[in-house]
């Protein structure tokens, strides 16, 4: 692992039976950087995200994470309690479906406060004010703090999921199609919100998406995947404006010009 990279993966290989989901993937992510992983369905994007975040183990390869004190951790070699601690403090995960992350039977405030309480926050007033602050930052009406997420619209649920994830100021957030399944105007607002929060807080993000415009808007750096392998990587503008690999050319040319 070179320099001061926050997360680094080397030679990741993973197969499901005869299907090769990851084929020798290397990843480097620096603090505060947003990296987009694009590719068609089944190209291994989500599998890569799961392996990077420790949810799935690779057959071969290693993922390193550098903690705030500069120590390196092998994500798949660390004990389960430590990985769990990482996931509820330093890391965050934003799913495409907010219902996977939110507790639908718990109020919006409780959802935001859960990570704080899991970290040992025991002052109700402080938890409450943190929840109010994050509702405001994610543009949800503060009056809805005691409402259940199931009464929220899809876009609001997604914003609530982001508030719940970012409340502990993670250093690294994994996002799996955060704007998928939302209508276009809601998508645009959400992208704006993610961009301002991420740059404001200096969070590093690994963003999986099939939408090239999302990648262009949020991520300075991009990796294009096909059949489990990275076929092209580099600066987003460069890759998308001047694609070299035939598959990237196909992806770029297949975007409808509005």
């Amino acid at each position: 692992m070179n320099g001061e990279a926050l997360l680094a993966a080397r030679g990741l290989r993973l197969s499901f039976g005869s299907v090769l989901a990851l084929d020798g993937v290397d990843v480097d992510l620096w603090p505060g950087e947003v990296l987009a992983i694009v590719g068609e369905s089944g190209s291994g994007k989500t599998t890569l995200l799961n392996v990077l975040s420790g949810h799935a183990a690779p057959d071969v390869g290693v993922v390193w994470y550098r903690d705030p004190s500069g120590r390196l951790h092998d994500v798949h070699g660390m004990p389960a309690p430590e990985l769990r601690r990482l996931h509820r403090s330093d890391w965050g995960f934003v799913h495409q479906d907010p219902r996977r992350n939110l507790r639908m039977g718990v109020s919006a405030g409780g959802n935001i406060g859960e990570r704080l309480m899991a970290q040992g926050a025991r002052h109700y007033g402080n938890i409450r004010s943190a929840a109010l602050e994050w509702l405001e930052r994610t543009e949800i009406d503060a009056a809805r703090i005691d409402d259940l997420p199931r009464t929220f619209s899809g876009g609001m649920q997604q914003r609530l999921q982001i508030a719940r994830t970012l409340v502990t100021h993670p250093r690294l957030v994994f996002m799996d199609e955060p704007t998928g399944g939302l209508d276009v105007s809601v998508q645009a607002r959400l992208l704006d919100l993610i961009r301002s929060l991420v740059s404001g807080l200096g969070i590093a993000v690994v963003l999986v998406t099939h939408d090239l415009s999302v990648a262009r808007l949020l991520a300075p750096r991009i990796m294009v995947m096909q059949h489990g392998a990275v076929v092209e990587a580099g600066l987003t503008d460069q890759v998308l404006d001047d694609p070299r690999h035939p598959y990237t050319q196909l992806l770029v040319s297949s975007v409808l010009q509005a």
Binding site: A80, R88, G110, R115, M117, A118, Q119, R122, Y124, I127
Partner: protein, 289 residues
């Protein structure tokens, strides 16, 4: 003592298995240990777990007290006491300090327990996270990783909606700063008695097949927030019969015109106070009749 049964009903190998589970439970305070719960001659929910724990620790020299909701004279308490009188021939008592083993449901006696005594709780649901997380695989993982943020989410929801924690019984506790534990449906009023108790506390859940324990002098803390500290609940009255202002009270409806009587739920405590000459407001009326 009736013939045909082994001492204290259970066979020796079963008792041995249960004692092993108890030893493990004592070694890891608050941790739920699985055990092979046996079919007992009473229905689930009537104390099958407690009765098995009692059966495996009781000896011929023990003195047994059984209470149900604080009372020594209810059906459940009387039947279990008689069960052990018949199958183990042990002496029964209603006096808290005379008992070496106290099997209980829903209360801890008002009289402070001392070293050498064992209190056995009947447990309907040993898993404190059961209402919050339906998967037992997940709750076990949460216990293993001491990941208890979810329990505080429940307290948060109560404070957000009702202005206070609204759990009045089975109030979750942290044992030895490690394991989250269900104290069984005792009123939250009794929770402070569990903290640093000189007696050994054993918990048996028959249907759920779990045993757990709190060894003597172990810290048991009720969960709370710094700005909403734990408050044990108690009816703001005095006992109508003995005048006690410090005991847990039952509210008894006495007529259909709104008549109410508040009495100690611990019958032993109340009777002994009256024997010592304490009289409450309604105690006078009772004496007059």
């Amino acid at each position: 003592m009736s013939g045909g049964y082994n001492f204290a009903y259970l066979d020796e190998q079963t008792k041995r298995m249960i004692r092993r589970a108890i030893l493990k439970a004592v070694a890891i305070p608050g941790h739920q240990v699985p055990f092979g719960s046996r079919e007992m001659p009473l229905p689930y929910g009537w104390g099958t777990g407690g009765i098995q724990v009692t059966a495996s620790i009781i000896g011929p020299d023990d003195t047994l007290k059984v209470i149900d909701q604080g009372a020594d004279d209810t059906t459940n308490a009387v039947s279990i006491r008689r069960f052990f009188a018949r199958t183990a021939g042990v002496a029964g008592t209603t006096r808290t300090e005379a008992a070496s083993i106290i099997q209980t449901r829903h209360r801890i006696p008002e009289t402070a327990l001392r070293e050498g005594q064992i209190i056995v709780y009947q447990v309907p649901q040993p898993e404190p996270l059961s209402r919050l997380e339906p998967s037992r695989v997940e709750t076990r993982r949460m216990h293993a990783l001491a990941d208890y943020g979810l329990m505080h989410v429940r307290l948060y929801e109560d404070v957000a909606r009702l202005g206070q924690v609204a759990i009045s019984y089975d109030y979750p506790v942290m044992v030895n700063n490690r394991y989250l534990m269900a104290p069984t449906p005792i009123p939250s009023f009794d929770n402070p008695k569990m903290d640093m108790m000189p007696a050994l506390q054993l918990f048996g859940a028959g249907r759920e097949k779990r045993i757990y324990a709190v060894p003597p002098y172990t810290s048991v803390k009720s969960l709370d927030f710094e700005d909403h500290p734990f408050r044990p609940l108690r009816a703001a009255h005095e006992c109508g019969l003995c005048g006690a202002a410090d005991s847990y009270l039952d509210e008894v409806v006495t007529d259909d015109r709104g008549g109410r009587l508040f009495v100690c739920s611990d019958t032993d405590y109340c009777e002994r106070r009256r024997a010592d000459g304490h009289v409450g407001r309604d105690g006078m009326a009772e004496a007059a009749q």
